[in-house]
């Protein structure tokens, strides 16, 4: 399923030369409100090149951001520019943009190839050119074998990939993917992630949204975190993560013999504190949650502890976001 990216094909062989000095995406003090509810408030952002992940809970404003970029919505304040042009007023920049919408509904009566080639013609390709290009991008997302089947028969992963193919058909400089991994099986995920990474390697600007960090992490290091319409974090994943490392974490373990387990756990370097809230529970404090979690199961199995639950009470989104917004600890 993983495509061979070294195959012959225009997109791979040609180096992209940016044709304009304007950044691909430029948002200045952008706010979008529905009545008194702000879906996005005061976002300033410039993106050019590379893969950027947009993280946020449901309702954080990811889709609103994308709809603003795609000219579906009108900004309440501020300005949105794609390649220096306001997309609400002028659809011209879309010649250089590919968009993968979140919506599940597709034209089930078309084949994948028809879908891609028909919409390729909206980029100004002739019928014949469109067919050739459709073949190319469908191959790129490794859908060649089912290209002539009806979309209605596709699995969810195939649908996502055919949407990506439709977005790539004009060889865009900027690719916006709204939840491309949602509902896909692991194999499709891997393929789609590889496609996105490859696009980034080819020098395209890629904006991909997700509410799952792990997925984004496998694609890119540059992330944007949106929360309640505000820009919460922006930049390299590592640096954000380092800041997060300074806060202590708690791990709560419910076991029949907390003291015995504590003896085994205290040997781990990263543990700097242990407490017993009650007779059945053990609370571990650490700066390095990953290390604990990688070693804890082994300790439990080796020493034959009877563990009921392991919990990270601080690791809910609220405490993370609380930390990020206040800049302080918990």
């Amino acid at each position: 399923m993983i495509p061979d990216f070294d195959q012959q094909g225009k997109a791979q062989t040609k180096e992209w030369v940016p044709e304009s000095t304007a950044p691909a995406i430029l948002l200045e003090n952008v706010s979008k409100s529905y009545g008194r509810i702000f879906a996005l408030s005061n976002i300033t952002l410039a993106l050019n090149g590379g893969v950027t992940g947009v993280l946020g809970m449901n309702g954080a404003g990811k889709s609103t951001l994308f709809n603003l970029l795609m000219g579906k919505l009108k900004v309440s304040q501020g300005s949105v520019k794609l390649f220096g042009t306001d997309p609400w007023k002028n659809p011209a920049p879309y010649a250089r943009v590919g968009f993968v919408p979140e919506h599940e509904k597709m034209y089930d009566w078309m084949t994948g190839h028809e879908f891609v080639s028909t919409f390729a013609r909206l980029n100004g390709l002739t019928r014949d050119e469109a067919k050739v290009e459709a073949d190319r991008v469908l191959d790129f997302v490794s859908l060649s074998d089912v290209a002539h089947k009806k979309i209605g028969q596709y699995s969810k992963g195939m649908r996502q990939r055919v949407k990506i193919a439709h977005a790539l058909v004009n060889d865009p400089e900027l690719i916006i993917l709204d939840e491309p991994l949602q509902g896909c099986d692991p194999l499709a995920r891997t393929t789609i992630m590889n496609v996105i990474r490859e696009l980034g390697r080819m020098g395209r600007t890629v904006l991909v949204s997700s509410h799952i960090l792990q997925e984004i992490e496998r694609i890119t290091e540059q992330i944007i975190i949106l929360h309640q319409g505000r820009l919460l974090a922006l930049g390299n994943l590592h640096s954000i993560r380092e800041r997060l490392d300074k806060i202590p974490h708690r791990i709560s373990i419910q076991t029949e013999d907390p003291k015995a387990l504590a003896k085994n756990v205290i040997d781990i370097d990263e543990v700097f504190g242990i407490s017993f809230p009650d007779g059945k529970n053990l609370s571990i404090q650490t700066h390095n949650l990953g290390a604990i979690h990688s070693r804890l199961p082994q300790i439990i199995v080796d020493n034959n502890h009877k563990v009921n639950t392991i919990d990270n009470p601080d690791d809910d989104l609220a405490s993370i976001l609380g930390y990020l917004t206040s800049g302080g600890g918990i």
Partner: protein
């Protein structure tokens, strides 16, 4: 890569053909499209079948002047007795008493024995026409003044005077000498009149009104709205294409299925009425002009309504609620145009202009239509007086369904003017719909 950013508007035709083709294929996959087209076809076919049946049946011959009746029961019809100078009311006075006796004529000789011989045009002034086929006016026993009861100095003729009233319409008075064109052939007249009325009514109500309104109502209202609701509009709007273009091309795609359908049904109607219609010729070629106008008017109507209903769909999720009262308004305007083709209100409708095209074409193709209606209204009562209750069958419906183009225009300019107005309306609705679409936020 084939496209470069500077080539966005280079290939309008490619985008256009792609969306049109896409729209057509989308219609093809929807069951409702076929149901709508099938029901339309069935309904019109039903009317065609009834028409064929009516045309194949005989129209009852009526003795309009009553001279086939034997009032005095002497075996001789009244007409024969009058001709031969006996008393039709006296059973003891009949041609059988002549020397040598004359056999009674069959009654059928006195039915439909004096048909129309009119050669007039609808213009202001006096015209003399008519011919006494059965010779009851030219009877040698009559004096000159008896032969010229309308006192115009010509024996056995009909005087038709057209005059124009202040409303701009032509009106006519008919003054015939006794016994001229007093017993026309019902079958010939009614067959022709009902044929003409059929073409006009099916063209105006069946095609321009029903097809013209209901096809767009079913097919065009959701052109943009359905895509917006289902979220698939995102695919189209993510491409470098202006929304007004999408609006236009979607409508063109809708026309791509509606226009061939209208043309096919129009050709079917032309063939049916051409072969089954009245007349001696094998096929009524002259009517093709009217059918052409009907097809054209219906196409224009579906264009304008398509743009309008599409725009209403963009405007509001419940665009259909706006479209339905509008359709009712148009229905009322259609009926108004039958009765008062010069009404100013009609100028604020779409259908008024579309029907004007049909009326103008009818005026061009059948120049003597007015005279023909006049004939039928007059001719049913033995030439005696005006009695619409007794007018010949078919004259009433023909008078109802035919009307003048209005605006005081002659036929050809009327076609041009109404076509231009309809195109302008379509352009306005496109502009409005495109602007609405452009200002619409899509979730």
């Amino acid at each position: 890569m084939a496209t470069k950013p500077d080539s966005i508007y280079r290939s309008l035709d490619r985008k256009a053909s792609a969306i049109i083709e896409f729209t057509l294929r989308q219609y093809r996959t929807k069951k409702s499209t076929w149901v709508v087209l099938g029901v339309g076809f069935t309904a019109l076919s039903l009317i065609f079948l009834i028409y064929i049946d009516v045309m194949a049946s005989e129209f009852e011959s009526i003795d309009n002047d009553g001279d086939s009746t034997d009032f005095d029961n002497d075996g001789y019809p009244r007409g024969q007795e009058l001709r031969l100078g006996t008393d039709p009311w006296d059973g003891d006075s009949h041609p059988g008493l002549f020397d040598p006796p004359i056999e009674p004529d069959p009654k059928s000789m006195y039915i439909n024995e004096d048909g129309f011989d009119w050669d007039v045009t609808a213009r202001v002034g006096l015209q003399s026409t008519g011919f006494d086929d059965d010779g009851d006016c030219q009877d040698a026993n009559k004096t000159d003044s008896q032969k010229d009861t309308n006192d115009n100095g010509v024996a056995c003729d009909i005087v038709i005077e057209y005059y124009r009233l202040s409303d701009g319409q032509l009106y006519a008075t008919i003054d015939a000498d006794d016994g001229v064109d007093e017993d026309p052939d019902e079958d010939a007249y009614s067959r022709e009149a009902i044929h003409l009325a059929f073409v006009l009514s099916i063209g105006k109500l069946g095609f321009v009104l029903l097809l013209g309104i209901f096809l767009p109502l079913f097919l065009a209202t959701g052109l943009i709205r359905d895509e917006m609701n289902s979220g698939t509009m995102h695919f189209m709007l993510a491409k470098p294409i202006a929304r007004t273009e999408v609006f236009l091309y979607r409508t063109l795609g809708y026309l791509g299925i509606v226009w061939p359908y209208v043309i096919a049904l129009g050709i079917l109607g032309a063939i049916v009425s051409g072969f089954a219609g009245s007349g001696d010729s094998f096929f009524r070629f002259a009517d093709l002009g009217v059918w052409l106008a009907i097809i054209f008017a219906t196409m224009m109507a579906t264009l304008v309504y398509g743009m309008l209903f599409n725009a209403l769909g963009v405007l509001w999720k419940y665009g259909i609620i706006l479209a339905i009262p509008f359709a009712a308004w148009e229905l009322g305007m259609a009926l108004l145009s039958m009765g008062a083709p010069d009404s100013t209100l009609l100028r604020f409708s779409i259908i008024g202009w579309a029907l004007m095209i049909v009326d103008a074409a009818a005026m061009m193709v059948w120049p003597s239509l007015d005279v023909f209606i006049l004939m039928g209204n007059w001719g049913g009562d033995g030439g005696a007086n005006w009695d619409f209750e007794k007018s010949l069958e078919g004259a009433g419906p023909l008078g109802f369904f035919s009307s003048k183009p209005g605006l005081g225009l002659s036929a050809f300019p009327a076609v041009i003017v109404s076509s231009l107005v309809l195109l302008l309306q379509a352009a306005i609705f496109w502009f409005v719909g495109g602007a609405l679409f452009k200002g619409k936020e899509i979730q």
